[in-house]
Each structure stands twice: as C-alpha cells, then as structure tokens.
C-alpha cells in the first residue's frame, strides 16, 4: 500500500536522530564534555596514587612502629626519628584552642542571625561575616605573628605577668589559634545559621505558645533541633584548621612538641610539610618521602571530617525536608 512505503512517510524523530553529521557532532561534543568531567576523577586517583606510592617507599626506610609508636619527630638531625604523634599533637593543639574561641562566638552569631536579627540586618551582617572567609590565610598569618603575638600577647605576658604565669614563646600556638578562630568563624556561623533557619516554624511557635522566651526558644528548641547541622559546621571548621598551612607555619613555630599548651612553640603536620617544601628536598630522600607520609595522614583526617559532615548534613535534610 502507498501509505506504508518508507519513502512517503513523514520523518520521525528517530530518522532525524540518525542524520549522520549532526549525530557525529553531538557525539563528539558529548565526549569532550565527558572528558572534562573525568579530570576531577583523575585528580582524585592521582592524589591517592602519589600519596600512597611515596608513602610506601617511606615505609621501606622507616618502620610502621617507628611512625606510629615513637613520640619524637626528628627528621633532620641524627639520630633521626619519625614518630608522627608530635605533629598530630601540634594539629590537635591548634584545633582545640581555635575551637575554644570560635565555637561560642560562632554559635552566638548563628543564633543572633537566625533568631533575633531583623531580615535587613541579617542581609547586611551575613555577607560581612562571610567576607572573613575570603581573606587569604597568609594575611591572617601576618596578623597572628605581628599584631596578636608581638603587640598583644607578648606585652600581656611581660616579666612579672599575672595572666600567663610563664613567659610566652615568640612562636606560640595561641596567636595562631586566635587567627584560625577568626578564619573559621564564618564557617561555623554561616552553616549553623542555615541549619537553624531550616528548623520548622511550628516548633518555635509551639514553644512561644507555652510561654518560652526568645532565648529559651533559641537555646532549648532551635539549637537542639539544628544540632546535626551545627555539628557538621564544626566538623568542616575542624577540617579547615587541620588543613590550614600558612597561619600555623608562620605563627606557631617549627618545633615538634608533644603538648596541648597554647603558650609553647609547636609544629603541625601542615607546618612540617611547608618546611620540607621550602627546603627543596631532593627526590628519593627520606625527607621528600616523609612529606607524602605526613600528607597521607593529613589527607585521611580531612577526608574523614568532610565525609562525617556530609553524612550529618544529609541526615538533617532528610528530617526536615
């Protein structure tokens, strides 16, 4: 029959899709775009490969026990010793002290912005607070060393000082931690505020209806309801402190030190890595390999913190959305 002969049939979508040139172009473009997307996958593979292959060679020179059970990090002078704990202690030191300052201030700012501030006030204050996150960390490092340590902490801890008891070291973890606290303040405040703003209105209204004051609603209803978001914010902030290099390298010193005291000179994992990077360690030396071993520990720590934060944020979304 005439109607069924292919030639007279109107072209269907399938026919159009089979137009050879157009089809080829589309395929090429799609392939090029997909190739772009593989760059990020390749980056991850490269990071893992580089870290773990160099770390493997490192462990041919240095035993596992020395790395994880020794407490002294002494890579430059004989007898060399590669106990990671002094560097981990340095990192934990600045994490603790920066959170001591940033957590109360950041949470207070989040509560104010979410529960107290007029929308117009919030619209101005939040970006200003977030601007603190855009300041390059080398700038914070400059302040930590010159303004905080030299102009404030050292005069405070003068000869017969009443505040610190003992004299403070010129390079100390406190100066670095104060600036790290400023650096993570927007992370804690902004993400916690997002979490609090997501708490349903009915919870607040129920509490007000029972006679709770604004402060009671904020601290006993909204804050607990937003807790997983707040914890996620803190985990992300910790990850940023753990990975931050310039502030600790410049202001906290370069003395591996198994202490949590804020007044002593310490060295963090990142601080050690930068020190090796500055020294231009030759490839194949233990110095160069130790860079990657410490880097691998750092990578695993920040990855765990980030994944933890993502899990918490997702759980929070599931509950309220």
């Amino acid at each position: 029959m005439m109607e069924t002969t292919p030639r007279r049939r109107a072209p269907t979508a399938d026919d159009l899709r089979r137009r050879p040139m157009r089809h080829l172009n589309e395929r090429l473009i799609e392939l090029a775009l997909a190739a772009c997307a593989t760059v990020s996958l390749v980056t991850t593979v490269a990071i893992v490969f580089v870290l773990f292959s160099e770390t493997a060679t490192f462990f041919q020179e240095v035993s596992f026990q020395d790395f994880f059970l020794e407490t002294e990090w002494q890579p430059l002078f004989n007898p060399v010793s590669f106990g990671i704990w002094e560097l981990v202690a340095g990192t934990v030191n600045v994490v603790i002290w920066s959170l001591v300052f940033a957590l109360p201030v950041g949470l207070a700012a989040a509560i104010y912005l979410s529960e107290y501030a007029h929308p117009n006030t919030r619209r101005i204050l939040k970006p200003v607070l977030e601007a603190l996150a855009g300041v390059p960390t080398v700038v914070y490092a400059y302040f930590a060393l010159t303004v905080v340590t030299q102009d404030i902490l050292i005069p405070l801890a003068g000869e017969d000082d009443a505040i610190f008891g003992d004299r403070i070291s010129f390079f100390n973890s406190l100066g670095a931690s104060l600036m790290l606290a400023v650096m993570i303040l927007p992370t804690i405040a902004s993400i916690s505020e997002d979490a609090m703003a997501n708490v349903p209105r009915d919870l607040r209204e129920a509490a007000y209806g029972l006679g709770a004051t604004r402060l009671e609603v904020a601290t006993r209803v909204v804050l607990p309801a937003a807790l997983s978001g707040v914890v996620a914010a803190v985990l992300l902030a910790i990850a940023r402190v753990v990975g931050e290099t310039m502030i600790v390298a410049i202001a906290a010193g370069s003395t591996p030190n198994l202490t949590l005291s804020p007044l002593e000179s310490i060295q963090t994992m990142t601080g050690y890595m930068l020190q090796v990077g500055l020294g231009d360690a030759a490839r194949g030396t233990v110095d160069y390999q130790s860079l990657f071993a410490v880097g691998a520990v750092l990578f695993v720590m920040t990855l765990a913190l980030n994944i933890g934060a993502q899990v918490l944020v997702n759980r929070f979304r599931e509950v309220y959305e």
Partner: protein, 297 residues
C-alpha cells in the same frame, strides 16, 4: 482578689518573679548575642586599620615597580605582581573550559546513574582537600614527573585542579537555575541537546558561572601554601615572558617579608597585603555586582 485581677486591662499585664527574670535575661541576651556577632566585623575593621597604619607609608609607584631586594626600602612587588598575573591568567584559561564542560556534562548530558553520583561525591570531597595536598600533588606530578620545573605552567595547573571542584559545584548550581521550560521549548523546536545547551542554557547560566569563576580566581590569588610547595618561594629579578619561567606571587612575597625579623620588611608585608586585598576585594565586588544585576526576580 480574683475580681481585682479580672478588672485589670490586658495592656498592663506584667510578669513578676521568675517569669520577669526569664524575660529580662532573654531581653538582655539580644545584646550579648549581637555583640558576639559584631566581634567578627570588629576584627575585620581592626585588622584593616592595622594594615593600613603599618603599610600605607610604603605604598608608592616604586614599591609596585621595583624588583625584590635585600634592602627593605628598595624592595618592590614587580616580579610577584607579574607572576601573579601570569599564573592567574593561565589558570583562567585552563579552568574555564574544564569547569564549565564538567558542569554541563553533569547537568545536561550525563545519564542519572551511579557513575554520576560518584562524580558528584568525588567533587564534594575534592573541594575539602587542603591546598597543601594540591601543592604536593603538583610537586610530584607537574614539577617532577612531567618535568615542568617550578614554572608558571606547573603553578597554573596546580591552581586549576585546586579551584576546579568549587567552580564546578557553583556552575552546576547556576545551570540548575535555568528553568526547564526553556530546555523543553528548545528541544520541541528541534534543537539538538548541544544546541539547546549552547544557545539557551549557557546564556541563562552565564552570570552565575562568571560569579563562581571570579570567586574561585580570587581564592587562587591568595593561595600561598600550594605554590610554595611547587617552588614559587624564589628570588625573581626579571620580568616573566613565558609559561616556562620560574615565578613568584604576591602572597608568597608577603610570606617572605613576614618571616624576616627586621621591622622594615614587616612594613613591606603590610603594604603588599594592602595591594593583595584591594585586588581580591575588587574581584569579590565584581562577583557581587554580577550576581545582583542578573538576579532572577
């Protein structure tokens, strides 16, 4: 007594005792919390004041056009500004196609399957990797393995990988903002998928993508640790002319001047911070203007 209470007009109902105390605490808390919020702003202003106070007297044309020097009053930012401009320009050239390409593929082309979820998860985790890790990646792969040396090219490749995750994530956000009716309209009129993306989705998403890119570049402009790891902490007393040159950047120069004990170099560092912050604030302002200007009603 009960009669007395009932007679009181509603407006004069005032709490007493424990309730009054709770209300007073709550009223007072407003100012305490506002104070805590303003600490961040105060610190920002104080640091800005300190920097200008320290560095303003060092700012001059000579400071911008002199090479670094071991004499603080003759040292300048010439090679570090040139190095910054070279490295950032190359980073932009490398990052634009890869970042936009990745975002388009993920939003418009990729099949919604496990692979896409993996790519997305991978991006989120890469965004959280510390910059110094990108630094040792660049050192091992670009500087040593590909033998590029501590060159502008190695620096730009490292920075590109560093800013890629956040640029892609923000670009995806921008592409998602384009209403799907526009996509459907284009497809219904016979566009191929690429024509739809090229002529309808991309123009709509462009302001958002530009904002993301500018913010990422301003992040790269302040990056120090990753560039020191690949070898940008060097003395450069010539003008960069090719991507194979050694280089240094303004943040690395700030680091260099900050760690010197002499007071005069601290002033140089403060002056260089003013230059860097003006550049970064300009970029952030540009991003904010683009975002406001093209904001969807």
């Amino acid at each position: 007594m009960a009669v007395e209470r009932a007679a009181a007009p509603l407006a004069t109902l005032a709490a007493s005792g424990a309730v009054a105390r709770r209300q007073a605490v709550s009223r007072g808390s407003r100012y305490v919390l506002l104070g805590a919020t303003l600490i961040g702003v105060a610190v920002l202003l104080f640091l800005g004041y300190e920097t200008v106070d320290q560095g303003w007297s060092r700012l001059s044309i000579d400071f911008l056009t002199n090479y670094p020097s071991r004499f603080a009053d003759r040292a300048g930012l010439r090679s570090s500004i040139l190095g910054t401009v070279w490295v950032l320009s190359l980073t932009i050239v490398l990052a634009i196609p890869v970042a936009i390409g990745t975002a388009i593929w993920m939003e418009e082309f990729a099949p919604r399957n496990k692979l896409l979820a993996l790519v997305q998860l991978n991006l989120a985790n890469l965004a959280g990797v510390p910059s110094i890790i990108y630094g040792i990646l660049g050192l091992a792969v670009f500087v040593r393995f590909l033998d590029l040396g501590p060159s502008i090219l190695a620096g730009a490749l490292t920075l590109t990988l560093m800013i890629l995750p956040m640029t892609v994530i923000a670009s995806q956000e921008a592409i998602r903002q384009v209403p799907s009716s526009i996509r459907e309209g284009a497809l219904a009129l016979g566009s191929t998928r690429w024509q739809m993306v090229r002529y309808h989705v991309l123009p709509g998403a462009m302001p958002g993508i530009m904002t993301a890119l500018i913010l990422a570049i301003s992040r790269a402009a302040g990056e120090t640790a990753a560039l020191i790891m690949i070898g940008a902490f060097t003395f450069i007393a010539f003008d960069n002319t090719s991507v194979q040159d050694d280089f240094t950047t303004v943040p690395v120069q700030i680091y260099n001047w900050t760690i010197r004990p002499q007071e005069a170099f601290r002033q140089n560092a403060a002056a260089a911070i003013i230059v860097l912050m003006v550049a970064i604030l300009t970029m952030n302002l540009a991003a904010a203007i683009i975002r406001e200007r093209f904001r969807r009603p």
